[in-house]
């Protein structure tokens, strides 16, 4: 976040995009760890947002997430990103089991006119910390993923975005009749990120 240098409380579009895309990187890692998509031992602990966060050491996953956050920050700077969804699917059947939905509202004035806003770094970090805590505690109510899973990330962008070379259009991978839990949100005054997790209804409850 190189651009937040002048004064602590001034935030530029660039800085905001960096914060948000970095947040996605850590959030994705945290979800993959907490939901057991990859084995525990493939993660290493680092300190971030005042919390111990886990980062994958698997080279394939690492580069996937690095490519993702790089592309996301580009779109965030252009104000073209509306939503990012991390989908967890059954490896065997490809059935979507969980959708981690991060909706993004961008202040269009900032994108168009290039003004900067005021919000302290500390405050943003505190908001992100709250989301991270919620992600970590989500295992208490989310149904147990007792089969091998894979994940994918969907980016909802404006219609006029040129599809980058490495991306393809995808279906929304919705869950039929899902349960939803809304988590905290954070706001950089430029990008507002709302977090919501939807998951497959546990069939056992209905029977």
């Amino acid at each position: 976040m190189a651009s937040r240098t002048v004064a602590k409380d001034i935030i530029t579009l660039r800085g905001s995009a960096a914060i948000v895309s970095e947040f996605f990187g850590y959030a994705a890692n945290s979800i993959l760890y907490n939901r057991g998509v990859y084995p525990e031992e493939s993660f290493a602990k680092v300190k971030k947002y005042g919390l111990p966060m886990l980062l994958t050491q698997d080279e394939g996953v690492k580069s996937f997430i690095a490519n993702l956050t790089a592309q996301l920050s580009e779109w965030l700077e252009a104000g073209q990103l509306q939503r990012v969804v991390l989908v967890i699917m059954s490896k065997a059947t490809n059935e979507v089991l969980e959708r981690w939905n991060f909706s993004i509202e961008t202040d269009s004035e900032v994108v168009e006119k290039g003004v900067s806003k005021e919000k302290s770094d500390k405050e943003i970090m505190r908001e992100i910390q709250a989301i991270m805590r919620q992600i970590a505690s989500s295992i208490t109510y989310l149904p147990c993923l007792d089969e091998p899973c894979v994940f994918d990330v969907l980016a909802y962008t404006d219609k006029d975005v040129a599809v980058p070379f490495t991306w393809i259009e995808s279906d929304p991978k919705l869950i039929a009749n899902p349960q939803m839990v809304k988590l905290h949100s954070f706001d950089t005054k430029i990008h507002k990120v709302d977090t919501l997790v939807s998951y497959k209804n546990d069939e056992w409850d209905e029977q």
Partner: protein
Amino acid sequence: MDAGSRYNTSSRRPFSDHKLQRISSRENLDRFIPNRSAMDFDFAQYMLMGGKVEKENQAPCSPSREAYRKQLAEIFNMNRTRILAFKNKPPPSVHTTCQNSLSPLHQSKPNNKRRRYIPQSSERTLDAPDLQDDFYLNLLDWGSNNIFAIALGNSVYLWDYTNSSTSEIVATDDDNGPVTSIKWAPDGRHLAIGLNNSHVQMWDSSANRKLRTLKDVHGSRVGSLDWNSQILTTGGMDSMIINNDVRIRSHVVGSYRGHSGEVCGLKWSASGQQLASGGNDNLLHIWDSSRASTNSATEWLHRLVDHTAAVKALSWCPFQCNVLASGGGAGDRCIKFWNTVTGACLNSVNTGSQVCCLLWNRHERELLSSHGFDHNQLTLWKYPSMVKITELVGHTSRVLFMAQSPDGCTVASAAADETLRLWNVFGTPELAKTAPKTKTEPFVNFARIR
């Protein structure tokens, strides 16, 4: 508790579990059931009809209709966002793919992996009188026939793990000195025995009969042996490594020269392409099997000089075919990991005690090491993080030798306190039902993909 029969029943499991799987996951049924709520019928209708409606209505197009059409287009099309995903999907977890190969079992017991209970005490303790307290020897091996062989003084004893019966092969007398190394052939029937007088004997364990003696192989005692299908590789105190084809009369078919001290560790990789050798000269060599010849054989693939004491403990990683773990003696105390293709040292961990032996868990990414002074423990490490999972204590002197059961679950350790202990450290046989009985690599598919 008969481990052998337990192993057999578990290998039959796939049939019974197949049914179970179908019942538990209805999504697996092969009938296609469209999911209406996930489809967007309004949009589909618009996309299908849109063009046609436009053409028909061109002439009598009223402004209100036009406005309606525009609005419709906006709602359904313009406002729709683009949903993008990477073309390259993230790699599925290798761990879960392993689980997948065990899937019938793991779907019924999903949490068994995480909660594997590791008994802290040995399952059995056996006496091993007259076991040589010599770091440079290799006196314990567990064959694919589930019989382990231990050399005690001048004799070799066989202990059948399935029925606990023992038998003795008298190998030599005091003149020819004690047995200095033993190794089962991959067929689990033939046993190679290296002696202090530089001879190597071949025994047929089922007939309890000596088949042949290889003489004039080395100039002094033979402390290490390993098989590569029909080739018996011997390492001697004379710092030579010799390849012997045991089927032919002039059995010496190749040699590797490069050590300047006693060769105490010898291990062929599972593919049989590479040989790792460790010596009392603190060197670790990686040799290419195709480059061995009787004429010029000083050419090693890699000469690794990082250890600062004798390298006896060697173990090839069963799930990454080019990774070797090596452990150094009392002056070094390090476990090091090597990429044997490039010769790069991947990791080094100081264990604080001499490393006598190393074994990989074939079912989990774990490594077991045995140590000497001052706890004489076995340490189980998580790989690659090298976090200690547990330490098993019980031996009262350095744990010189270890061997792994053919199902990969039980480990036998022999220590200078003249006891042999069996540990259930690598999981229970039920869990490890796909454990191969032969020497084939369990994860060979993955190694190829990478």
